[in-house]
């Protein structure tokens, strides 16, 4: 028990970007004195944890309200305009909350657009401010370069194919990955943060008649207001896909330990991971 406590102490003092060699599970009791005056570094900084969960909350609010808004017109178009009289790019095979929409269903769902639109835009504001806070602090703390972006040495086909192969075999991540993101995480997380989130905000704003009156290029380069709506739908779908894989990987890696790391900041030590597995 004494060794376990000391081991926790040791691991919680290693910086969040440190790579723990797999052979480090047998920690000598004398190790703690080697890292004096270093404050306990959590697996994820408080700011990362708080912004992560606010974003999660907002994402669910945006998803539920977005689905409700789509239900009022589950038809998608390309170009500037589209309505019940024009051909569609595709239709969702679901009933609608408006009785003029030709869905093939004989019933109409209740209208939920009022609160859905209020909630959608409110959650969008909160997630944009949260994202800005995360971006600014990430730049100052060098979080992106240290923890999030792929390390130069890892960017080879060999590393990539081995990482993909490990994931395809549903291999449990190594203990080191409790402390540092693997290559696929270092590719997908920046993609979500720097590509999908900006795209979903842009395509959303491109649907706003007032916003595009001031900045018409934001919708014109997308090919029109209905194109923006269709793209907004697909980017949202990509984000939902990421969410599903993300939650799936969290479960595979150890739901309790990964959740604890993102909630309290304390990551599982190799010893604790072994305990959880048994």
């Amino acid at each position: 028990m004494d060794v376990y406590v000391r081991a926790t102490w040791y691991y919680s003092r290693v910086s969040d970007s440190a790579y723990i060699p797999s052979g480090a599970s047998a920690v000598p009791a004398a190790v703690p004195t080697v890292v004096p005056n270093k404050t306990a570094a959590p697996r994820h900084s408080a700011l990362v944890r708080v912004t992560h969960w606010i974003t999660t909350l907002c994402f669910f609010a945006l998803l539920v309200s977005g689905v409700e808004i789509v239900i009022s017109h589950p038809r998608f178009y390309w170009g500037e305009t589209g309505n019940d009289l024009t051909p569609t790019l595709f239709k969702l095979p679901i009933p609608a909350s408006r009785n003029l929409v030709p869905t093939g269903y004989k019933y109409v769902l209740p209208d939920q657009n009022g609160w859905s639109r209020y909630l959608h835009f409110q959650a969008a504001w909160v997630v944009v401010f949260t994202g800005l806070l995360y971006l600014i602090s990430g730049l100052f703390t060098r979080h992106f370069r240290k923890n999030l972006l792929p390390r130069g040495a890892d960017l080879s086909w060999r590393e990539l194919s081995s990482a993909i192969a490990k994931h395809l075999r549903f291999e449990r991540p190594s203990d080191a990955e409790a402390w540092s993101y693997n290559l696929l995480q270092r590719l997908s997380y920046p993609f979500v943060i720097f590509v999908l989130f900006p795209l979903v905000i842009w395509t959303g704003l491109a649907m706003s008649p007032a916003f595009v009156s001031a900045l018409p290029a934001t919708v014109n380069v997308l090919g029109g207001q209905q194109s923006a709506r269709t793209l907004h739908f697909f980017v949202s779908l990509a984000l939902v896909l990421f969410l599903l894989v993300h939650v799936g990987m969290v479960c595979l890696a150890g739901f309790k330990s990964r959740m604890r790391a993102m909630i309290t900041g304390r990551a599982a030590t190799p010893a604790a991971t072994t305990l959880e597995r048994t």
Binding site: P36, T39, A40, I69, H73, N113, G114, F121, S213
Partner: protein
């Protein structure tokens, strides 16, 4: 328990310093919010439906878009982009009163204008047509997601407001449909905007009843429900508190946002 180590002591010191800085930051934040709220109120950036759980998002949307779009023009399109045929959304079955106007070719239809104006007046459709007519080819987009482009023919609202003489303290224009419980309001930035039309024609013809004929307010920088059909009455006011439940228009009373630029 052993004595606290130097590390723990320095942690404690750090947390006390953190507590103080966090406290100062929080106080500054609250004070900043207070100042922002005062300024927003002063510059007319607070929407009438700012209360309730969605008030924050609604206020941020309205304030930011009002600052960004005070004078900007809605996108206009070429005549080849006009949707054929334009999609007419569902309207309530016409009332007996409306049918009487329709039987008379809307010759007796009146638009009355009162409130904070120097010369309250009422206009027939022919009188509105006697002002120089303007056209715009703009998109009508519904909050549901569909849209169409049409040529709208009418007189800019600002022209009629000039005739009745809006008093300087005016802040909003409230407008009413002949349909019961159908009314909206806009701020003066939208009321005086050159693309805000009293519309009596569409695509080179009269405005069809299905699209709000004989008279519809067109507001191309906001989604469709702000473009009220069958317009009969305008009131200029400095406060929306006395109208309905004081939320600004019928939309928030039905759960929809007052400002619909998004």
């Amino acid at each position: 328990m052993s004595e606290p180590s130097r590390v723990e002591l320095s942690n404690r010191k750090l947390s006390r310093r953190r507590l103080i800085t966090t406290g100062i930051a929080a106080a500054a934040g609250v004070a900043g919010l207070g100042v922002a709220a005062r300024l927003a109120q002063k510059y007319g950036l607070v929407p009438p439906d700012h209360g309730g759980i969605y008030g924050l998002g609604e206020t941020l949307t309205y304030a930011s878009q009002r600052l960004l779009t005070r004078h900007s023009l809605a996108r206009e399109f070429s005549s080849s982009q006009i949707s054929k045929p334009p999609f007419a959304n569902e309207v309530e079955p016409p009332t007996d009163e409306f049918k009487r106007f329709q039987a008379g070719g809307f010759a007796d239809w009146r638009l009355s204008v009162n409130g904070m104006v120097a010369r309250p007046a009422s206009f027939s459709i022919d009188q509105l047509k006697s002002f120089p007519s303007h056209t715009q080819i703009t998109m009508l987009q519904c909050e549901e997601g569909w849209s169409y482009i049409a040529e709208w023919i009418g007189v800019p609202l600002t022209r009629v407001l000039d005739v009745v003489g809006v008093l300087p303290q005016a802040r909003y224009v409230v407008y009413f449909s002949i349909e019961p419980d159908t009314w909206e309001s806009i701020d003066m930035a939208d009321a005086l905007h050159p693309q805000t039309f009293l519309t009596y024609g569409m695509n080179g013809d009269e405005l069809p009843v299905g699209h709000g004929g004989p008279l519809r307010l067109r507001l191309p920088r906001q989604v469709g429900y702000k473009s009220v059909k069958f317009l009969t009455h305008l009131t200029v006011t400095d406060s929306l508190k006395g109208f309905g439940k004081g939320l600004g228009s019928a939309a928030p009373e039905g759960g929809y946002a007052w400002y619909a630029g998004i």
